[in-house]
Symmetry: C2
Subunit: 202 residues, 2 copies
């Protein structure tokens, strides 16, 4: 197993912050949404456009992972973006030790045997609090509205993951470690993952 | 959160061994199948009979957790066993710090805020090896046969858990920490859980 850590996460679990802090503590590179900038360079498309397509614009009827050879002659924007994204993820992972959040990186990097982590937050109150704290403008929204939005983002991530990988998003079978930030909080979650990463059998 | 650790586990993951070692390291009591002896005392039924009923003999059509009041006048053996089992689990947990493996203890002890762990083994080869090593008599069985038996035990556990709790067995939403022994091995899994238990927010 190399020094690649992938992080899947529920919306409002603090997964991105966990990933960033973990990378800082380990001295690893950290990749998240910013890898879309490399995808933009590679495809010549705008970042916003890519972001919209890469998690919500999947329109093909078979998993990306299977189809590279026979779709190259007639790619949709979503296909073009996804294939560029897979290339970028692999290029970044080749550069050296890193933490990559989201983007089905556990699946697309499986040949490199990454350490795959999922950040959960079993308690909806914790997720709501986190969302309200992160985006002050959301404070005008009711808890019911926010809850709907949180679950909607999860649903989109699940669909994207399942469509891209053929696997079930958030199924512990796909992760070596799943940690609940509702119990551990952000700092201790980082500590637990770091401890586990340094104590895995190689 | 008290000092109660519950452990759910896939068959062949080494969950019982993890639980026993963890209890030893923490100086906690350890309860597993032997709690059935207390159930036997309480119900006057034989341990073998209880074991058969408690994970495979559930025949009611609503979850145990909901029905205590209105089934007391006409209990089936499975009901009688299950209700005694819930009592025994609660009595044992009241005695002091402990690790309890299986028996839906995460759910039945939820009022005591246990630390809930699930032991997974994502790699079937690891599970097969563990089963062959633990029961030499099984060495005559083909891998296909063993795999079927492993998955069948998981299926029974899942049904029992889902029937008893109304929750999905093996859903990370029900556990604070899920660890894959295929990556960590037994010793490191124990260390990771112990570290996490000692670093949770209370």
């Amino acid at each position: 197993m190399g020094d690649i850590i992938t992080i899947g996460r529920r919306f409002g679990s603090g997964g991105r912050e966990v990933g960033k802090r973990l990378a800082d503590e380990l001295g690893f590179a950290y990749y998240d949404k910013q890898l879309l900038e490399s995808v933009a360079e590679q495809t010549g498309l705008a970042v916003d456009y890519i972001e919209q397509y890469s998690e919500a614009g999947y329109t093909r009827n078979y998993p990306y992972a299977f189809g590279r050879a026979f779709v190259s002659y007639q790619q949709s924007p979503a296909e073009k973006i996804q294939l560029a994204q897979i290339d970028v993820i692999k290029q970044l992972a080749d550069k050296g030790p890193c933490v990559i959040v989201g983007r089905c990186s556990d699946y697309f990097l499986s040949d490199s045997n990454p350490f795959n982590v999922f950040i959960n937050a079993s308690n909806m109150e914790c997720r709501l609090k986190r969302c309200y704290d992160k985006v002050p403008a959301d404070k005008g929204k009711s808890e019911n509205q926010m809850k709907k939005e949180i679950l909607s983002v999860d649903k989109t991530r699940a669909k994207y993951y399942e469509f891209s990988t053929g696997q079930k998003w958030g199924d512990m079978q796909n992760y070596h470690l799943c940690v609940d930030t509702s119990l551990f909080g952000i700092k201790n979650t980082v500590d637990v993952i770091k401890y586990a990463f340094l104590h895995k059998d190689d």
